[in-house]
């Protein structure tokens, strides 16, 4: 048991490091390319901006690492709660932290009637779990326990670090590409017509090409976000949740309720989609059969949980 967990943790740490490196390299190359095209034909003119990009990118990476969790929570408009606000929810989380030997995470509520939950943070010492008010009010104690055990499993095996970095950094790149594309379509076009006499047409054409390439890359990056939260991660968290609660039916019946909900969670977006326990964009069962889905089909997850029933010692 411990070996598997240690392997998972090590893998997630390694992946997080590579993600940061990949982000820095991509960011530097992009800025370098832009600089060379904008300033002149000399390839050396891009070196300065590239170094600047490395510094800025490093800063972004540091911010993502230390503040990414808060950023994701703010993006989802989640509000932190204390024990007095909801003793039962608080107790359930604290029970599970005891079961997993983890520090108590912060608890957040999302003011939305859609049913969903997620966990984020850089490590178990700086973790947070968030649940929508809709899900909170619909679940029985045992179901709530199952859902939160699933989230705490993401915390325990450091899934949260990787998915948080992914959400913030790749999300930012996608956003930049989107902004740039729009600027080129609207503002960029006007600017060119004003300066048409200066002979910058060739440079602009190249930028246009780069922009088109970027606008193709942006959705690809979005897909990367979705794929990174592989189905395997969700199955694993389901199984680890049962290891904590020793009660598969709790999570299974919660997933059933989640499956019946067809409401879209407005605060979720493409950058944070993969964090949630079920896809926030519904109906997703049909799409889940496709290769590029972030979440495995719910029916299959429920089936696997029910298969675990009775295999462990009763509690």
């Amino acid at each position: 048991m411990a070996t598997t967990f240690n392997t998972l943790i090590a893998a997630n740490r390694r992946k997080s490091t590579w993600l940061v490196i990949g982000f820095l390299v991509l960011f530097m190359i992009t800025v370098y390319a832009f600089a060379v095209f904008l300033i002149g034909d000399d390839p050396r003119s891009g070196i300065g901006p590239a170094i600047l990009a490395l510094l800025v990118g490093g800063l972004v990476a540091l911010l993502s690492y230390y503040k990414g969790g808060n950023l994701v929570l703010a993006m989802s408009r989640a509000k932190e709660i204390k024990k007095e606000n909801d003793p039962q929810l608080w107790n359930v989380v604290e029970e599970l932290s005891i079961a997993g030997g983890l520090p108590m995470p912060r608890i957040y509520l999302i003011d939305d009637t859609a049913l969903n939950a997620f966990a984020t943070g850089r490590d178990p010492q700086h973790a947070a779990v968030a649940i929508t008010k809709g899900l909170r009010s619909q679940l029985e104690r045992a179901e709530l326990q199952g859902v939160l055990a699933h989230e705490l499993s993401h915390v325990r095996n450091y899934d949260i670090r990787y998915s948080m970095l992914l959400a913030v950094m790749v999300g930012l790149l996608v956003l930049l590409a989107d902004v740039f594309r729009r600027w080129l379509w609207w503002g960029g076009g006007r600017r060119r017509s004003r300066r048409s006499g200066e002979g910058g047409g060739g440079g602009m054409a190249i930028i246009a090409v780069v922009a088109i390439v970027l606008s193709i890359i942006a959705p690809l990056l979005a897909k990367l976000i979705q794929l990174a939260a592989s189905r395997e991660r969700e199955y694993l968290a389901d199984a680890s949740a049962v290891e904590l609660t020793r009660y598969p039916e709790g999570l299974a019946s919660a997933l059933e309720k989640l499956g019946k909900d067809k409401e879209v969670l407005e605060v979720a977006n493409r950058a944070t989609e993969h964090l949630y326990i079920v896809s926030p964009f519904k109906p997703f069962e049909a799409r889940a059969k496709g290769m590029l889905s972030t979440h495995p089909p719910l029916a299959d997850r429920i089936h696997r949980l029910r298969a675990l029933e009775g295999s462990g010692p009763p509690r």
């Binding site: 048991m1 003793p87 107790n91 029970e95 997993g100 030997g101 104690r141 904590l244 020793r246 509690r315």
Partner: protein, 185 residues
Amino acid sequence: MGLVLIVILVLIAIAVFGVIGIYNSLVGLRQTVRNAWSQIDVQLKRRYDLIPNLVETVKGYAKHERETLEQVVQARNAAVSAQGVQQQAQAENALTGALRQLFALSERYPDLKANQNFLALQEELATTENRISFARQHYNDSTATYNTRVQSFPANILAGMFNFTSEPFFEIEDAAQREAPKVQF
């Protein structure tokens, strides 16, 4: 000559770091087991502290149930003063049984069941029961990890040298007691 010396030094360095690594991991695992054990005590104490409050609340509504209430108080006091693991386990189980009876009895008093204070206490006791069994579960999980480490090669050599011994599991003897100490409401 020089090369042989370097190879020998490198091998010694690897061995030293290996030993340090294994030793530290053993210390870490043993510490986890000890923490897990003390967590059980923390949660048991939490339950002792809740009971007087519960009894006071119930007393106001169910005056005729003095016997059940006394049983709960007695079971609690027996658990607090229990000596040794065996006696402790018995006393804790008696207490769980007495509490269950108390909550079953509350069904007969609608006023009591509607009391906010009682409802809050019910939740606190439910969570405490869960915490106790989760703490035991965590103790057993971490003990299993630690024991495996202590008994497997090559850590077992170091474990023998530095006196790391296997820890006992927390076991409940009676099969009926093994069944979830869950309070149903």
